[in-house]
Symmetry: C2
């Protein structure tokens, strides 16, 4: 996917989604160019850091004017592989699973929730955001039929490991883990731990140290 010669560091890739979200909102508001300073204010990322990050994708900022919103969106989507549709499944039809499945951002970025699974028979058959809640026992069938490679883990903690194992066993290769449980996975599976508290801890540093971000 990455057509650029330079190896893009981990940290840069990690910041790209923030730039992308912000740029897409600017585009929606008919903004055509944006300075690194404004992008910095909007994303909470240091403007100098933004300029350094974007150098990896070629020189396309114009001094005194900034970056072309449309061009920059395309470049970042291309790098991330976010210019295609991706089918995903969500495990857990509780508040967290419902919140994620309902989130505007998913559709904006081409993620299509094909199924939401739960083992609570009372929830099975109901709908969240027009997606029917399926019985966890149908996981294998759905993943294989829909060729799902991306799964979101939004179960209670005690069900996290078992659910992750089920996803991995059926061939899911990317797991976004919203539980507070750490998942050990084989080398060819990417697990990204994303619990809400990590974000809070991170902001805390800048807050308590009175540093600017």
């Amino acid at each position: 996917m990455n057509k650029f010669n330079k190896k893009i560091p981990y940290g840069v890739i990690e910041r790209l989604p923030a730039y992308l979200n912000c740029l897409m909102q600017l585009k929606k508001e008919s903004v055509t160019t944006v300075s690194s300073k404004r992008l910095g204010r909007l994303t909470g990322i240091n403007a100098a850091q933004i300029r350094r990050d974007l150098i990896y994708f070629g020189k396309f900022g114009i001094r005194g004017v900034g970056y072309e919103v449309h061009t920059l969106i395309k470049k970042i989507q291309d790098i991330l592989g976010a210019d295609k549709f991706h089918n995903i499944v969500v495990i857990g039809a509780g508040n967290l699973g419902a919140a994620i499945s309902n989130h505007d951002g998913l559709k904006n970025h081409g993620f299509i929730v094909k199924a939401i699974f739960d083992n609570n028979k009372e929830k099975v058959g109901r709908e969240i955001n027009d997606i029917e809640i399926s019985d966890l026992s149908d996981l294998k069938k759905v993943i294989n039929e829909e060729k799902i490679k991306i799964g979101i883990l939004a179960t209670p903690s005690e069900a996290a490991r078992k659910s992750a194992k089920a996803l991995i066993d059926e061939g899911v290769r990317v797991i976004l883990n919203y539980t507070s449980i750490i998942i050990e996975a084989p080398k060819d599976v990417i697990v990204y731990n994303s619990d809400p508290v990590s974000d809070l801890l991170y902001t805390l540093y800048y807050f308590t140290s009175k540093k600017s971000m």
Copy 2:
């Protein structure tokens, strides 16, 4: 808060919560030392990156043995300011607000949800995780009485900007924004945008490019 002489880069701080979460789970499982390799497998962060990051906090890894879990937890908590209790408020008592308020991780890291606000009169007075849902019109009172400096934004998109403004006007200095709306804030307010899709986009890069994380 940061008692270390070296300036710790943005990217390092951003990864500390992931290390901390992982270490706390290891501690719970009575693990006393951990290698950068294992920490890498658990967090999904490259082991070499982990070693480079932890050098900022002094030489306390032991070659061939790894890091002392307990010591490393203390150091990271100290750096992040996560060794104290922090009162927070959540705006939005929908699925997202409920999921965040219920999350194990909050209590584990000393975050205490003092109130959850909503403008839906039908929700006001009900409880989420033993916390009563308050009317949004009481925001000012609660923030001032409890001296709240940290707020979580978990409203529907259309209410995001107005709610953020209310938090800022009452003196909240850290906003964790879970909506897909970008919030512009004064310089002395830290807004950290954390929508679930950013994480998905980020993992996508490693998935589509078949790179290891």
